[in-house]
Every structure is written in C-alpha cells, then in structure tokens.
Amino acid sequence: MSHPTTGVVAGSDQDLQFYVAEEHGHAEGGTMLGFWIYLMSDCLIFAVLFACYGVYGRSYAAGPTPANLFDLGTVALNTSMLLLSSITYGFAMLSMEKNRIGATQLWLLVTGLFGVAFVGLELNEFVHLIHEGAGPQRSAFLSAFFTLVGTHGLHVSVGIIWLMTLMVQVAQRGLVPENKRRLMCLSMFWHFLDVVWIGVFSFVYLLSVLP
C-alpha cells in the first residue's frame, strides 16, 4: 500500500520527536485476509450442505428418524470436546505471543487430543449408525446428514494433521514469524470449524429430534 513515511512532531525547542508509520508485516496481513477469504468460501460449501439437509432432513423414506437414531448425550460430549479444543487453542496463541515454545507446544498437543477425541466419537457414531442399517444410502435424510457431518469431520481431521505438522515445525525452527503466521491461520481455521459445529448441533441434531 503506502511507503513508510517519516514525520517530525515539534516538541519543545530542543526535543525532537520522530514517529515512523510503517506498514509492519504487510505480507502477514495479506495472508490473513487471503485465508479469511478461503474460510468464507468454505463457509459457502457448508451453507449449501446445510441447505441440502434443510430440504431433505424430513425425507425418511419410511426409514429411521432422527429421534430414533441420535443420542444427544454423545452429541453433547462431542460438542464439549470441540469447545474445549477452541479455548486450549486460544491458550496456545497467548503462549505464542509471549514466545513460550514449551507452553505453546503443550497447548497445541492438548488441542490436538481434544480434536482426536471429537473425530473418534463422531466415527464411533457413524459406525454405530451404519451397523443399525442407517447408512448414507438408506434415505435422503441420512445422505444429507452423512455428507454435512462427514464434511465437517473431514475438515477437523485435516486440521489435526495441520496441527501436528506445525508442532514439528515449531519444534524444529521455534516461533519464527513464519510459524507464527501459520499458527494464526490454523487458529482461524480451528475456530471457524467450531462456528460451523454450532450450526450442526443446533440445526441437525437438536431441531431434528424435536417431535
């Protein structure tokens, strides 16, 4: 954008006060905006999948209904896993700001474990549903359900792989500006997935089990 500018503020007669208004970390800012735009396009993917579920969510094809299938206790546990992983990632970012490599790595590890627990519980639920004969091919409702929740779970899985990659990067090179930038991108990705999950547990699970 603009070049660094230098100005002189007239203080007292002898004192000279300089200020430098520089575009510090311009590339970093550009990456953040670009990543935000990517997240917004990802948001559109989820919007279309939510729309599909909204349209097909009541087409049971004489098969099982959400009230038969969904166990809200498991969903509540799953939701708390993702919520806890969000705050622990926040702690990782705060440690990163203070340049504490050990604390950052520890919080990243805790975040990753919560993420693994989330994906594990979700896969367990999927396996359970398929064993009950309620697989994605059973009805339009189940196709839409597996596509939406599966896409979210896939995003979380990719996020976990990304998180592990960054833990190796931080271990090898420390909290250099590049790694900080990457951690900030993953932070946005991780919190964004939590935002999508709010829509999933409200719209897909809670609203569907209402009579």
Partner: protein
C-alpha cells in the same frame, strides 16, 4: 546545551496486527458464554422444558446465532477495523450469499413438494 536536552524520541506506529491475538480475559469470556449458550439448548431439548416445539425451535436457533456472534468476536477476533474493514466486508458478502442459498433452497423446495402429486403405479407407467 547538554546532550540530554537533544534527546530524540522515535516511536514506531505499527498497524493493528497486535490486536489480532486476543487476551486471556477475552478467551475466557468467550468460553464461558459459549458453554452457557451450548448448555441451554441441550437442556431445553433433553429435559422437554416447553410443550410447544415451535418455542423450543425458535430459542435453539436464536441461541445458535448469539453463540456464532460470540465465537466471531472472542475467538475469531472479528471487528470492523481489521485489514481496513475488508474481513468484515467479505463476511457480510458471504452472509448474504449464505442467506440466499439456504432461504432460497428451502423456499423453492417447500413449494415444489407442495405441488407434487402422489403418483400411483398406473400413472408411473404412462410417464414419458
């Protein structure tokens, strides 16, 4: 005139990237709000608090919207200043598209279902 009188103050004005990390207070506030906003809808459904399901549905969607805003502010650190307002502009644009995609799909498909006739096996045989 001594050298001390000619003191030079250099102050560097960074842009607003520092604001992007949030604070401990912000994260904890967001987390507590999120826990409450998650627990209440689960409780409404699991404890069958209201007889009227429409009231429950309305409350669930309302609380979800509030929780999304809480996450946006406290976890994603959304504000109107970051990146010179471009993130907010992109978000508003996306929200408009999301609203069109979801509302439009539900609206159209609801009417298509309403217009659809129940078809007998005899009618199916005469389909083109």
């Amino acid at each position: 005139m001594s050298a001390a009188d000619n003191s030079v103050h250099v102050q560097v004005l960074h842009d607003h990237n520092e604001a992007g990390h949030g604070s401990l207070k912000g994260y904890v506030t967001g987390f507590v709000c999120s826990v409450i906003l998650t627990a209440v809808p689960f409780w409404l459904v699991m404890a069958h608090v209201f007889e009227n399901t429409q009231v429950t549905a309305f409350l669930i969607m309302g609380l979800a919207v509030i929780q999304i805003v809480v996450h946006m502010v406290y976890f994603l650190h959304m504000n109107t200043q970051s990146e010179g307002g471009w993130t907010m502009l992109a978000l508003i644009f996306t929200l408009v598209l999301v609203a069109i995609a979801i509302m439009g799909s539900l609206w159209i498909m609801y009417h298509l279902n309403a217009n659809m006739q129940v078809m007998s096996v005899h009618d199916m045989g005469s389909m083109p």
